[in-house]
């Protein structure tokens, strides 16, 4: 008789979910709209002529200038331009890169999967490692636990690119187990994902262990023990959910680490991906691509923070129906 089954049986509305879900989706959309508008305002008020800004370091010809004016509707009123811009975004049209001579959507979609697969692999690796270590060491003072705690501290303090270089030196150059660079399937994903995921596992592991240990000292843990359950069951059935609450809060921070970290890790391992695209767009002043990357990271953050808020509701019934 699990709680989730019961929730499902009673329906979303009855369990106090409907309101929060609708509210979260609404505010998520509002944030996306605000990000799009901010990017647009930044474009309009960037120093110099808007056409110059959009061309960036691309080829500057009268034909192209005319094309940009027509495409962005720069000859029309500000309000009309803005409406057009939002309408284009809604259609999924992110504009045209005048440096790469390709549609921005096209540029991003060809580069997004290497980054997403790197970020997801790193996240899964980091979360699994943190969970395993926290469960293995929580509430027990042992030499192994001390060692894990120390390693977490080291991993958190060392920047991922340095870890990446160290991993390369050991596992690629010396042992030759993994390729040095490029994107050649899963094998080439391992080292970058480990470099990126270690930091997550370091922080998450500490938070999880602390949460577990705090939960194990609560009065309800005494009650649970007084029923005769094993320590392992107590951790899995009771303490883990309590430890997940502070851990879930970190999900938003993960997104930042993964996005920012991916750019650096992609450079270290010579991998294709959004990181490379962003760096060259910024250095080449390729404004349409930069704007699209801003919108994309806003989308990532909104998605994650919506998931975080809903995860709170799933984990902690006290937050449902709270007014």
């Amino acid at each position: 008789m699990s709680t989730l089954q019961l929730t499902r049986r009673r329906g979303l509305a009855a369990a106090g979910w409907l309101g929060p879900v609708v509210r979260r989706l609404g505010s998520g959309l509002a944030v996306l709209w605000a990000a799009a508008t901010a990017a647009y305002v930044a474009l309009l008020f960037a120093p110099g002529d808007t056409v110059d800004v959009l061309i960036g370091d691309g080829l500057d010809t009268p034909e192209r200038r005319a094309q940009i004016i027509a495409e962005w509707g720069l000859d029309r009123s500000a309000l009309e331009q803005y409406g057009d811009y939002l309408a284009r975004l809604l259609r999924g049209d992110l504009g045209h890169s005048y440096i790469l001579q390709r549609g921005v959507g096209d540029v991003l979609s060809s580069q997004i999967w290497p980054t997403v697969s790197l970020a997801l692999t790193a996240a899964v690796f980091g979360v699994v490692l943190a969970l395993v270590l926290a469960l293995a060491t929580a509430g027990r003072r042992s030499r192994f636990g001390d060692l894990v705690g120390l390693s977490e501290l080291v991993v958190v303090s060392v920047p991922p690119f340095l870890i990446g270089i160290l991993l390369l030196a050991v596992f690629s150059f010396t042992l030759g187990w993994f390729p040095v660079s490029g994107d050649r399937g899963f094998v080439s994903l391992v080292l970058p994902a480990v470099a990126l995921g270690l930091q997550i596992s370091g922080v998450l592991g500490q938070v999880l262990r602390e949460g577990l240990e705090r939960a194990l000292e609560e009065p309800f843990a005494v009650t649970a023990r007084s029923r005769g359950i094993t320590e392992w069951r107590l951790v899995i059935r009771h303490a883990l959910r309590h430890a997940l609450l502070p851990a879930v809060t970190l999900l938003g921070w993960f997104t930042g680490v993964l996005l920012g970290g991916a750019i650096i890790i992609e450079a270290v391992f010579g991998r294709p991906g959004l990181g490379q695209v962003t760096v060259s767009a910024v250095t080449g002043k390729d404004m349409p691509v930069v704007m699209a990357v801003v919108l994309l990271s806003a989308l990532a953050y909104v998605t994650v923070s919506t998931i975080v808020d809903l995860a709170y509701l799933a984990i902690d019934p006290r937050l449902r129906r709270s007014r």
Binding site: M1, S2, T3, L6, R10, E218, P219, F220, V222, T223, A224, R225, S226, R227, G228, I229, T230, E231, R233, R237, H238, R241, H242, I315, D316, P317, R318
Partner: protein
């Protein structure tokens, strides 16, 4: 054969350098009700938990003899203890809001015992959970089983906690302060429920700080202090003819109708109990506080409804009621922290509610507050001296002298001024709160459950202190409490509140001895009396 027999039990926490239990012997026979009574830090809870092997990490347990169900418990491993927990002894702790997992449904919590000890088959578990909730008197058990602890009232979740303790039908229930956080009527219900289990043959070990609570149910009482049992015997004998000084002190410290006008605590150095309190003069003429037709609401919910009363100089007006009755809201209104929806408050004859805070500020020294949890009302970075000096004016040396004088009045040494409140005991903190409250020489003190978090002997000292201050300064008191004994001891007049309304008021003896309203009668009937259990 006894269920549990232990001789010379010693429990130490070497890391903290504490020996919590120092040579306790006790036995519990099947169907017997034994109570351990003591104040915080007496080692009573540690003793109870040790009996089910839950002393906690870092503890060393030794005993001359320790048998559970005839087996040698000193040789038990974790696996042996686990088999006994829940099956042989069920544990009921204080405050089910914390003692039930807040993230799991009540039904899941109860089912956990059934699953751990294979009491019923998996398919029958759900039905058994509902039977158990029904058996402990939870209405609509099907609905309640799907709810979480925070969705239940204090009484219902305590019942649910008891249901989980008895799910595997253990021959022994260990109840550690099972009614401490509850209203008096709910406390009576929970005690009746435990008594009913006992009548069905379950043995009961009750742990409590409250002699009255255990006296109605226990066959034998063990009085514990500093890890040692100072007195034990049949409940009737211990209550009527206590042999040990500490038991006498505990009994004398309990406030009631009989203790009016007398000291609850022994005077320092002396042994004479129940010495008379100094004379107190109640003024007539103009009231200090006048409350008329006061109403307040949070949103659309009316929490105080048409409350009127006056408080005269030197007088103590008690306000009693259960949680949610609106008594704390009345305190907030009187203090001018909340504006009434209608009606008004006058302080020393002038309007107090409905005027701007700027005009109230200079008069605020006339009305001060003492709350249940003083620590929450202290700035944690302030020293005691700075806390007390805050409302004082004058030169730095004047203020310093006055702080020392105030500390002396509340019975604290001058060197306390340099300490931080976090480093003080609960009783010392409440004394600091009183010193701060009387520092600006107020005309009236609003006391909101000022002794509810204190041990009975400390409570006695604080109540005596309040009486001394009142006699010396002629301060009026508005004394809010859920404890009818405390209110009867200290008050001249009393207001009984229920759902925001005053249902009865009058002289405290009249109201408590000849109650007119049904609710007052119900409240009074629920108060546990210091009387031995009926045979």
């Amino acid at each position: 054969m006894s269920l549990i027999e232990v001789e010379d039990l010693r429990v130490a926490f070497p890391k903290a350098g504490v020996e919590a239990v120092r040579g306790v012997s006790l036995s519990i026979a099947p169907g017997e009700c034994v109570a351990i009574v003591g104040e915080s830090g007496s080692g009573k809870s540690v003793t109870a938990r040790t009996l089910v092997g839950l002393t906690g990490p870092g503890a060393t347990v030794t005993a001359g003899r320790f048998t559970v169900k005839g087996q040698d418990a000193l040789r038990f491993g974790q696996r042996d203890w686990r088999r006994l927990r829940g099956r042989f002894a069920g544990l009921v702790l204080q405050d089910a809001l914390l003692s039930l997992d807040p993230l799991r449904t009540v039904g899941d919590e109860i089912a956990e015992v059934l699953a751990t000890h294979d009491v019923v088959s998996r398919a029958d578990r759900k039905a058994r959970v509902i039977e158990l909730l029904d058996a402990v008197g939870v209405p609509e058990p099907e609905v309640r089983a799907r709810q979480y602890a925070h969705q239940l009232s204090g009484g219902l979740r305590q019942r649910a906690l008891i249901a989980s303790a008895i799910a595997a039908d253990p021959p022994l229930i260990i109840a550690d302060e099972p009614t401490t956080a509850l209203d008096v009527t709910v406390q009576a219900q929970i005690l009746r429920l435990l008594a009913a289990r006992r009548a069905e043959g379950t043995a009961l070990l009750m742990i409590s700080h409250d002699l009255a609570v255990v006296s109605s149910i226990a066959d034998r009482v063990l009085v514990m202090k500093d890890g040692v049992i100072v007195e034990e015997g049949p409940t009737a004998r211990v209550l009527s003819a206590p042999a040990h000084d500490y038991t006498r002190l505990l009994l004398a410290a309990v406030p009631s109708a009989a203790s009016r006008g007398t000291r609850l605590s022994a005077i320092a150095g002396g042994v004479s109990l129940r010495a008379p309190l100094p004379e107190r003069h109640v003024g007539h003429g103009a009231p200090v506080v006048e409350v008329s037709g006061l109403s307040a609401a949070y949103g659309t919910r009316k929490v105080v409804d048409d409350v009127s009363f006056e408080v005269y100089p030197g007088e103590t007006v008690g306000i009693v009621g259960e949680s949610g009755s609106g008594k704390t809201t009345v305190a907030r209104l009187v203090l001018g922290l909340l504006e009434p929806v209608s009606g008004g408050v006058r302080l020393n004859g002038d309007p107090w509610s409905g005027v701007s805070e700027r005009r109230r500020r200079s008069r605020r020294s006339g009305i001060q507050v003492i709350s249940q949890n003083p620590l929450g009302s202290f700035d944690p970075r302030y020293t005691v001296g700075r806390l007390i000096a805050e409302p004082l004016s004058g030169s730095s040396s004047d203020r310093k002298a006055r702080v020392i004088e105030l500390l002396g009045r509340v019975g604290l040494a001058p060197d306390i001024a340099g300490r931080h409140p976090r480093r003080l005991s609960g009783g010392q903190r409440q004394r600091v709160a009183i010193a701060r409250a009387i520092a600006p020489r107020p005309d009236v003190l609003v006391c909101d459950e000022p002794v509810s978090a204190l041990d009975v002997s400390i409570q006695a000292q604080v109540l005596d202190l309040l009486a001394e201050i009142q006699a010396a300064d002629g301060t009026a008191l508005i004394f809010i409490s859920h404890d009818l004994g405390v209110v009867h001891h200290i008050s001249d007049r009393v207001l009984v509140m229920r759902e925001g309304r005053v249902v009865e008021e009058g002289h405290v003896d009249e109201v408590f001895f000849i109650p007119k309203h049904d609710y007052t009668r119900e409240l009074l009937g629920a108060v546990p009396k210091l009387a031995p259990a009926e045979p």
